[in-house]
Symmetry: none
DNA sequence: TATGAATGAGAATTCATTCAT
DNA sequence: AATGAATGAATTCTCATTCAT
């Protein structure tokens, strides 16, 4: 339940997020944002301290939501494979509901993280890494994942794989999120190759 | 064999590429490049027309090399699975030899492609797409890859997966390129899950 | 006896005076004043026309009071030395009761006097000059002050000396105004040097 | 001996100093400075980092020179009264040679000192205070100055008295610096009143 | 080739002021 | 009286680019 003021703020944040996502943080001018909102650039400063603080609110808001959903999943105590599926689906849902946030997170993190006000980006990265490496090594220990995996490589692989989808996943397109998430999961979990060796499994040509 | 002039040019391009990769094209000023090269910003203009033309040379040079190696592989007429392996290995080798080029390509394409002088970025994208969807559908047709794959999704998945590795692959690190490429291939081709008894799946032709 | 409205006005003027004195007229924003008063900047405009008119009221109010006390002293027809003592004491009392007014008067006069609405600053300066040069030359004529004085220089000396005390005189500090005024008078009238044998000087009428 | 570049810098610093002194630091825009120098405002940044750094160079340059001359005087080991005369004359000479520096120092110190890059202003103040209180108490101890002086008050009196002269001393005017300094010294050392008590000294009416 | 001074367009930001509610 | 959203002009600063030397 937002009052008038917060609603306007949220609206402006949405406009800014879209522009940042589409043209990049640096290439989007404060004027662009104001114009898109139908006001003058100076008026933006009635709502926000600075361009940086706009990006800050977008990113921290998005990440807070995302990690809240991760925390919920972890609390459910699922088995590794199910947990990974749930986390990936939650991530794709974030792509669906916050495509701009994801995009900004992906593209701008490297540069913004240099500023101390964005230190939380680094912290979130650390949390994310812990989350995944724990799930993966639990999975290996419990026999759900292949023993020969290099956990670190797989973690990076998944981390990048998931978020990069924002570049082409179209929220208004034909494929619903759930389905895209499923396909990603299938590739990551099962690979794209036909199973050759185990003849009795009915695989092969 | 380069003459004095070209050698200096190449050197400057290398310096610029590193800065573009590290801080982004927009955030890197002409002065930054000149300073890193030990000259004044005005002096850069004896070597290059503009900042854009520096980025242009870096990107087109990198892409020309990359696609030359792809073309060679295609000409060899390998079987789909082997071809895909070769193309992925070639891509990782590009990451190894031109990390800055890859990084710039990845981060700045979206932005630079708006300028007509960078139209070739779009063309290369199209080529890349054709290359992969052809290899993938050939592979499915020949029974090397699972029939239930969504070629488009897998193409995008691989495209993003490969290049994104530049963010964490460290050319001077412990893992040699070849090995990283192998691990990527293993995940993509075989998946990370332990093969379960897929009898009821009824997969295969 | 002030009604509600005027009391609020006076309160706001006091807040503004303090901020102008502490941070300067230009550096103090209308928002700063409003915030210090616990209202929003737009609301200040229900009380005052403009930022300028706030400064105007502060300065003219302070100067009116000050010159009223001068006029009273002049009307008393004191001897030069006593008159000067009285005027200086009155000035120090103004520093005590209106430290912010004095500070603003001192720091901002030069700048504000360019605006026609502040023409009275110039007029007051002229009055002040007349007051002092008259007292001083009367004093010299009547043998109270040394004959070799350059009236103009002494006038400026005193003018600056008196007001500049606002920078360090602390209204809440240990020294009461009266005492500070006395010490100033001692220095100005008697000097800091020990009286040497001035026989050869041949001073006096 | 300045090279081309430093000469231009010095020239620009002089222009800026004059404007800062005349209109105040805040009221002088970077554009004003540039215009007065016959260039565009952006071009100023070829020479200086920021408006602040211009003020910084003006102030620190002026203060370095001033304190160098003080240090020389102290090193001469003069008697208190002579030392004070020398220091005051040196100060008036600074007013003569750097009127803008003095004016900026006087008017802007309070505001600029809030910025950490101007911490040296505070340090200089401390040095100045030590210089004067030492000279004054030495003088009292050696019988050159009156015993009943409040050193602190006299120090402040002199400090303010000296610099405030910049407001009306006109370097191109009729009175040479030396003479103005002398008159100031006479007032401060001897006072303006005719000596009354010591009848044999021939003072009084 | 290189310097260094300058351009000029445009960036983010500030702030006194207005005004409908 | 007060709010809060907005204006619009001005301000500091940035930066790719030019050009005489």
């Amino acid at each position: 339940m937002l009052d008038q003021g917060s609603r306007r703020r949220a609206e402006l944040l949405g406009i800014a997020a879209q522009l940042f996502a589409e043209h990049g943080y640096r290439s989007t001018t404060v004027r662009d944002i104001a114009e898109a909102a139908g006001i003058l650039s100076g008026s933006l400063y009635h709502h926000f301290d600075s361009k940086e603080s706009i990006a800050d609110e977008i990113l921290s808001g998005f990440l807070d939501e995302l990690f809240a959903s991760y925390t919920e999943i972890l609390a459910a105590g699922l088995k590794p494979r199910n947990a990974i599926e749930a986390v990936i689906i939650a991530s794709f849902e974030a792509i669906d509901s916050h495509p701009h946030g994801v995009s900004i997170y992906q593209t701008e993190t490297k540069h913004l993280a240099k500023l101390s006000r964005f230190d939380y980006l680094e912290h979130r990265n650390t949390e994310f890494r812990k989350l995944w490496t724990t799930m993966l090594s639990d999975g290996v220990r419990q026999g759900a994942f292949r023993e020969d995996l290099d956990i670190e490589v797989v973690y990076r692989f998944i981390r990048d794989t998931v978020w990069v989808a924002v570049h082409w996943y179209n929220p208004n397109g034909s494929l619903p999120v759930g389905q895209v998430a499923r396909q990603y999961l299938t590739i990551v979990l099962e690979g794209i190759a036909v199973r050759r060796r185990p003849a009795k499994r009915g695989s092969g040509t």
